[in-house]
């Protein structure tokens, strides 16, 4: 139960942050990615704020032997910069550059549903399922 409450709290803070940051607005994200237009550097501030926090806090958190509620830390074990990592990042970047939604803002579409929600969210899960069913091993 405690683990669900902390997951809920984490999700709520994350979701408020996403909405406040402007990243749930595809046009704002595309205004950042479109460096040749009227460039909007705001997303650098989102990334800077978020990484600033994790960079400092993770050092202290990961000194612990386990998470506060007793579970082991589940961290990636792969360190290789391999083909799936690179190809996956390219494919993701293409989709992100088209739509202006990465997965967090994409799922946050459900907070204010429109036609974009009912197209993007199912397509996102179909894409993930296609990779799991037929794609090469993950990076």
């Amino acid at each position: 139960m405690d683990r669900l409450l902390s997951a809920l709290a984490a999700g709520l803070v994350f979701g408020v942050g996403l909405a406040l940051s402007g990243m749930t607005h595809a046009e704002k994200v595309l205004g950042f990615l479109d460096v040749s237009g009227r460039w909007d550097p705001s997303l650098l501030f989102v990334l800077g704020g978020a990484v600033g926090v994790t960079l400092v806090a993770f050092r202290y958190v990961l000194r612990r032997d386990a998470a506060v509620l007793g579970e082991e830390f589940r961290l990636p074990v792969t360190a290789d910069i391999d083909r799936p990592l690179i190809v996956g990042a390219v494919v993701f970047g293409i989709g992100w550059g088209i739509a202006g939604y990465c997965p967090g803002p994409g799922l946050a579409l459900l907070a204010a549903p429109s036609w974009e929600t009912w197209v993007f969210v199912p397509a996102f899960f179909v894409g993930g399922a296609l990779h799991r069913a037929f794609g090469p091993a993950r990076g």
Binding site: D2, L4, S6, A9, G11, L12, F14, G15, V16, G17, S21, T24, E27, L33, V35, D40, S42, V46, L47, G49, A50, V51, V53, F58, L69, F73, P84, L85, G88, A89, V90, V91, F92, G93, I94, G95, W96, G97, A99, C102, P103, L107, L110, A111, A112, S114, E116, V119, F120, P122, A123, F124, F125, G127, G128, A129, L130, H131, R132, R138
Partner: protein, 142 residues
């Protein structure tokens, strides 16, 4: 939404970071959204509920913000449906293949000083910039 929003974007970014830290500190999990959502497609036992609860929190958090400040995004009218569907599938496929997205590789990976995540982040940023250029300025789609 105003064009350049350094303060709200920085504050939002800090909250995203805090949510990420809460999940790692209490649950021992990295808040990579593509990984948390993708895990619903091939879940292990006892591994579903926390994912659903976290993602529901994310959606409710955004909804609460919109309710309080009236900032909900408005859907684009002329964006082609098939192109948005293709983009969604590419985002799902690519983040599954590459094991992460803006939050997993960007926020969490850079926070852990992971060279792997730094490479992935640089690649999807550059690819995203190039793609947006093609879609907007060659194809004329907004």
């Amino acid at each position: 939404m105003d064009h350049f929003t350094p303060w709200s974007s920085l504050s939002g970014g800090i909250l995203i970071g805090l949510g990420t830290v809460i999940l790692l500190l209490f649950n021992g999990r990295l808040a990579g959204i593509s990984g948390i959502a993708g895990g619903l497609l091939s879940p292990g036992r006892g591994d579903i509920l926390w994912r659903v609860v976290f993602l529901s929190g994310l959606i409710v958090g955004a909804a609460l913000y919109y309710r309080a400040f009236d900032g909900a995004p408005v859907a684009r009218r002329d964006f082609p449906v098939w192109l948005l569907a293709l983009a969604g599938a590419l985002v799902g496929f690519g983040t599954s293949l590459g094991s992460g997205c803006t939050s997993g590789h960007g926020v969490c990976g850079l926070g852990r000083l992971s060279p792997r995540s730094a490479v992935a982040t640089a690649i999807f940023l550059v690819t995203g910039i190039a793609t947006t250029y093609v879609v907007r300025h060659w194809l004329g789609i907004y």
